[in-house]
Structures are given as structure tokens and as C-alpha cells.
């Protein structure tokens, strides 16, 4: 394994981690503040990607798509909140899981109905196509760099919002002890709506960013959702900082594992076996990491919840 490849895979891992963080941030806040398990959060990511594909196809401009998809993703998120999720906040987790699974089915199939089952392509914006030399003789796609930079900037903005603003303070307090915040006279329903809408928009943003480099297809959010759940559980439910660190960790483990594991296995096994076993082990790595972390730190790396 050359340093070049390692560097590229490291950057790819970072980029996956950033996307995961954008999805996980909303998930962990919704879970932490509202104690609401939203399986349909991955759907928001898919909605973002489809909106981008649809608008880009209509206007021919990725930038238009980015600009319009965000408020639309927010609006759709709030619509779902109003129609379904709002009625589930005081139900137990099992019922939330069942109903939000129903939402996944409806939206996944609805997307198929509207756009067909075939994957859609979103052209890369002219400005960001091509590559940037990061080492001698090594180009890395500009767009992926842009995702990393844009994601880090969003993470910074999120940190500022949560740590430095009044709403952010309420959100943190809500994640630690929601009933207390409600008892202090804060309009908890409005707080919930803000947190929910914001989380939906972030996931939609991740979808828009991912659209030009991944195929936009029904169900694209499902597997990322599971990874995002892994992220928030490793990070500690309700913790933005934990989600950030865990997302990067999962992104790197997932990406580096996939490229390194088969090579590692070749030390012990025949090439074809090594490829198969290596791939399986690589897919397992994040889950092994999560199981190990939970076995020793049952509340995740950065526990938030009081008592």
C-alpha cells in the first residue's frame, strides 16, 4: 500500500465521515432532545439528493439546486413532522420505530413512483470539477475537497449555534434534561420543531452534497441511516461533539478498512479468499468497534443525558 493510496483513502474516509456527521447531527439532537427515534431520518438525506437531481435537471445548475433544495428539504421535513412525527413524541420507542419505518416505505416507494427506480445522475458543478494536486503527481477531486471544507464549515457553524446562542443553550439543556426545560416554561414544542427542522435540513444538505458523486436512487438513505445510528451511539446520544468525532472515526474505519483489509488478509489467505474475507471483515469493522465501545462504555464516548 503506497502513501498515495493511503492519503486518498484517508481523504475519502474523511469525506464519508463529514456526510455521516451531517446526517448524525440532526439524528442525535432529535433523539437527545426529544427522545424520539426517527428511522426516517435517512429519508431526509434521500429527499435532499432527489431535490438536487430534480432541480439540477430542470435548471441545469447545481448551484440553483443547492440553493433551492435546502428550503424545500426543510419544508418537507416540517410537513412530515406536522403530519406524523408530532403525534409520536409521547409514545414509546417501539411505536416510534414502527411508524417511522412506515414513513421510510412510503417515501422510498413514492420516490420510485415519481422518478422511477433507475438511479439519477447529477452533473458536477463546472467550478468544482477537476482535481487539486495534493502531493506531487497526485490529484484529488476538487468536489470532494469542497465537501470536506463545506462540511467542516457547517460543523463549525453548528458548534457556534449550539454552544453560543440562546436556542443552542436550550437545545443542550433539553438534551440533558428535557422535562426540566419544559418545567421552566420553555415552549418545548417550538424547540422540538426548530431542532427537527434543522436536523432535516442538515440531512438534506448531506444529500445534495452527495448527489453528484453517488447515484441518486430509492433507498439510498437506509444504509447510511444505520451507520448514522452507529455514529450517535458511539458518540453518546445527544452529543454534537461525540457525533462529530464518531462520524469521522466511522468514516475512516469504513473506508480504510475496505481498502486495507483485503491486503492484510492476503498475508494469511489465498488472493480470492482474502478478497472475500477481507471485504466481510471490513464491513464488520464499524460494528465490531461499536460493540466493543458499548461493552466498555455503555453510554457511548461522550454521554450527555443526566441520570
Amino acid at each position: 500500500m503506497s502513501t498515495h493510496l493511503l492519503l486518498i483513502q484517508g481523504l475519502n474516509g474523511l469525506q464519508l465521515g463529514i456526510l455521516l456527521f451531517l446526517i448524525a447531527a440532526g439524528l442525535t439532537l432529535v433523539f437527545g432532545v426529544m427522545d424520539f427515534i426517527n428511522l426516517a431520518h435517512g429519508v431526509q438525506y434521500m429527499i435532499g439528493a432527489y431535490l438536487a437531481a430534480w432541480i439540477a435537471a430542470g435548471t441545469g445548475s447545481f448551484w440553483f439546486a443547492l440553493l433551492l433544495a435546502l428550503p424545500l428539504a426543510l419544508a418537507l421535513g416540517l410537513l412530515l413532522e406536522f403530519l406524523v412525527f408530532r403525534h409520536l413524541y409521547d409514545r414509546d420507542h417501539l411505536q416510534q420505530v414502527l411508524a417511522t419505518f412506515g414513513v421510510i416505505l412510503v417515501v422510498n416507494q413514492g420516490v420510485k413512483l415519481l422518478f422511477g427506480a433507475a438511479p439519477l445522475q447529477v452533473p458536477m458543478p463546472e467550478l468544482l470539477s477537476g482535481g487539486i494536486p495534493i502531493m506531487e503527481g497526485l490529484l484529488y477531486p476538487t468536489y470532494r475537497i469542497a465537501i470536506i471544507v463545506g462540511g467542516l464549515a457547517t460543523a463549525g457553524l453548528l458548534w457556534w449555534l449550539v454552544e453560543r446562542t440562546k436556542v443552542g443553550m436550550l437545545v443542550r439543556a433539553g438534551a440533558t434534561n428535557a422535562p426540566m426545560v419544559a418545567a421552566l416554561g420553555v415552549d418545548i414544542n417550538r424547540l422540538f420543531m426548530i431542532v427537527f427542522g434543522f436536523g432535516a435540513m442538515l440531512a438534506g444538505f448531506a444529500g445534495v452534497l452527495a448527489a453528484p458523486i453517488l447515484s441518486v436512487e430509492p433507498g439510498m438513505g437506509d444504509n447510511l441511516l444505520i451507520l448514522a445510528f452507529v455514529v450517535i451511539v458511539i458518540g453518546g446520544i445527544g452529543s454534537i461533539r461525540g457525533a462529530f468525532i464518531a462520524a469521522l472515526l466511522v468514516g475512516l474505519v469504513e473506508t480504510l478498512g475496505r481498502s486495507l483489509m483485503p491486503d492484510l488478509m492476503r498475508l494469511f489467505l489465498s488472493p480470492s479468499e482474502a478478497r472475500q474475507v477481507g471485504a466481510a471483515l471490513a464491513s464488520m469493522l464499524v460494528y465490531i468497534a461499536m460493540a466493543a465501545i458499548l461493552a466498555f462504555r455503555p453510554a457511548g464516548l461522550f454521554p450527555v443525558r443526566a441520570g
Binding site: 420505530v97 444505520i226 452507529v230 460494528y287 461493552a295
Partner: protein
């Protein structure tokens, strides 16, 4: 004794209806195949309900138990062993052993973390199965033939297989009922309802929960054995988290107040899915909407409907 019988009536009626189904116009091959699939999934759902409703252990990796049972059939088939007298105990033992090993770690956590750690173990089983190149990897493995029972090709006969499934489901349900009503089950239920109280009485919940986890896993293994024989095919998809999720949904849809909820939930889930899929290409939209409506308007699941109606009538 009477109220006890009344509480069991829904399950007994349902099982009786399943046993009678071939004689009530559901005897065609297609219908029997569908019913067998529904009953086997119901077995897995009942064993999961034992965990969810009885012990408060919400497992998101129960499909892996079925997977162990199903892969035991495949691996033994590959070795030329096809007698159910060997295959079934192996399937049960394999699933039970997996449950013991993973449960010992998972049961240290609780709540959402338990859901996630069982998901993690399920995914590990899933990816292991995909890497089994000798058994088809991702593509799965087609059984040469169904298991035989002491040399008899009993499972090949559609009607016989139907009754074997009815019997297995009835046995699973009965065992689960007895378990929950026993001393063991009482401790399990107390530890779910009020763990502090159970501990203050001297019951450490861990060994009870772990035992329940292993028993449910073994039951899942038996269901996996039947599933492999019913489809004559085994693939990693049987172990996917989506399948674990489906089993959980069957349990919740039916209601966790009693094991019969899982029976009703599983049969309702499979049959509704099948029926809707013949109505409209995009039937999943309707299915999803029905799930959402079921949660919003039936807080106690399908099995809670009679009590809910009674409440409305009294008003």
C-alpha cells in the same frame, strides 16, 4: 381458570384456523407456501416477543438467530447430512450458542444501546454469511433437497409440511406461554417492570435475561431450519437488519401485551404484504401508510383492538 382460558383464546383459535386452512379452501400449492412462510416468520416473531414483551429486551438482531438455523441446514447439506434428527438440533444449538456469546455482552447494556448492540452483532453475522464463498456468498445457496426425517421425505409433502409448521408454531407459542407463567418468567417480567425491586428481592436480572435470550435464540434457530427447508434456499439477506426490523415490526404491530400479539402481527404482516403486492405496483406506499395509521390509532397493536372497542362501547 376461566379468565386464563379466555386470555389464550385468540391464539388457540388462530392456530386451529391455521390447522384447518387446507380444508377450508386454502389447500392450493401457492396458498400453502404462503402460509408456511407466514407461520415460520410467526415462530420467529413469537420468540422475539418473548424477549420484547417478557423481558423488555428489544433485539434488532433476531434475524441472525434464524440465519444460524438456516445456515446450519446449508452447511450440513453441503457435508451430505440431511437428516432432520441431526440438522434440527444442530440448528437450534448453533443459534443458541450465538445468542449466548452475543447476549453475554449485549445484556450489559439497556434501552437503545441494547437495540444497537444487537444490530451490530446481527450485521456481523450478515457479513460473515456474505463472505462464505463456499455457500454462495452474497448470492446464496440452493438446497439440493429438503431435510428428511429419519429417512422419510416427510418435508417434501406440502400438506405434511404445513402441519409440521402448524405444530412447530403451536409448540413455540405454548413453550413461550409456559415460560412466561413460570417462576422464571415471573422474575423476568418483574425485572422488566421494576428492575430495582427485583434486585432488592435478591434477583440479579442478568442470568434470567441471558437465559431468555438464549432460549429465544434457539427458537429462532428452529424457525430458521424450517425457513431454509420451506424456501430450499438460503442467502445472507435472511440475516439483514431489514429482516430483523420486520420481525420486530410484526411483534409491535400485533402488540406486546401477550405472545398471541406476535402471532397475529406476523400473520397479518405477511398476508397483508402479499395481498397488497397483488393490488398495485407501488403497494409499499399503502403498506407504509397502514403501518403509520396502525401506530397512531392502535397504541396496543392489533391484539389490543377488542379491548379498545370495548372501551369505546362503554363510553
Amino acid at each position: 381458570m376461566l379468565p386464563a382460558v379466555r386470555a389464550e383464546a385468540p391464539a388457540i383459535l388462530l392456530l386451529a384456523a391455521l390447522a384447518a386452512a387446507p380444508f377450508l379452501g386454502f389447500g392450493e400449492g401457492y396458498m400453502l407456501t404462503l402460509l408456511a412462510r407466514a407461520m415460520i416468520l410467526a415462530m420467529a416473531a413469537v420468540s422475539l416477543s418473548l424477549l420484547v414483551g417478557g423481558a423488555g429486551l428489544v433485539s434488532m438482531g433476531h434475524a441472525a438467530m434464524m440465519g444460524f438455523g438456516a445456515y446450519a441446514v446449508v452447511i450440513l447439506d453441503d457435508m451430505g447430512v440431511t437428516d432432520a434428527a441431526i440438522v434440527l438440533p444442530t440448528a437450534i444449538a448453533a443459534a443458541g450458542a450465538f445468542a449466548l456469546a452475543t447476549g453475554a455482552i449485549a445484556i450489559r447494556t439497556s434501552g437503545v444501546h441494547f437495540i444497537m448492540i444487537t444490530l451490530a452483532f446481527g450485521q456481523m453475522a450478515f457479513f460473515t454469511a456474505s463472505s462464505l464463498a463456499g455457500y454462495g456468498g452474497d448470492d446464496g445457496y440452493t438446497l439440493y433437497s429438503r431435510s428428511d426425517v429419519l429417512g422419510l421425505r416427510l418435508l417434501d409433502d406440502r400438506l405434511a409440511f404445513h402441519f409440521i409448521c402448524v405444530g412447530a408454531l403451536a409448540l413455540t407459542w405454548l413453550l413461550g406461554r409456559l415460560l412466561l407463567a413460570s417462576r422464571f418468567g415471573r422474575v423476568l417480567r418483574a425485572a422488566k417492570g421494576n428492575p430495582l425491586r427485583a434486585q432488592a428481592l435478591g434477583f440479579d436480572p442478568f442470568p434470567y435475561r441471558l437465559t431468555a435470550y438464549v432460549i429465544a435464540g434457539a427458537m429462532g434457530g428452529a424457525a430458521g431450519f424450517l425457513f431454509a427447508n420451506a424456501t430450499e434456499f438460503v442467502a445472507p439477506a435472511y440475516i439483514s437488519w431489514q429482516r430483523s426490523g420486520e420481525l420486530l415490526f410484526m411483534v409491535i404491530l400485533g402488540g406486546v401485551a401477550g405472545l398471541h400479539g406476535a402471532l397475529i402481527g406476523a400473520l397479518g404482516f405477511v398476508l397483508l404484504e402479499e395481498w397488497l403486492s397483488h393490488q398495485w405496483e407501488h403497494w409499499r406506499i399503502l403498506f407504509g401508510v397502514l403501518l403509520i395509521l396502525a401506530v397512531l390509532f392502535l397504541p396496543n397493536g392489533l391484539s389490543g383492538i377488542p379491548a379498545q372497542l370495548a372501551r369505546v362501547a362503554r363510553r
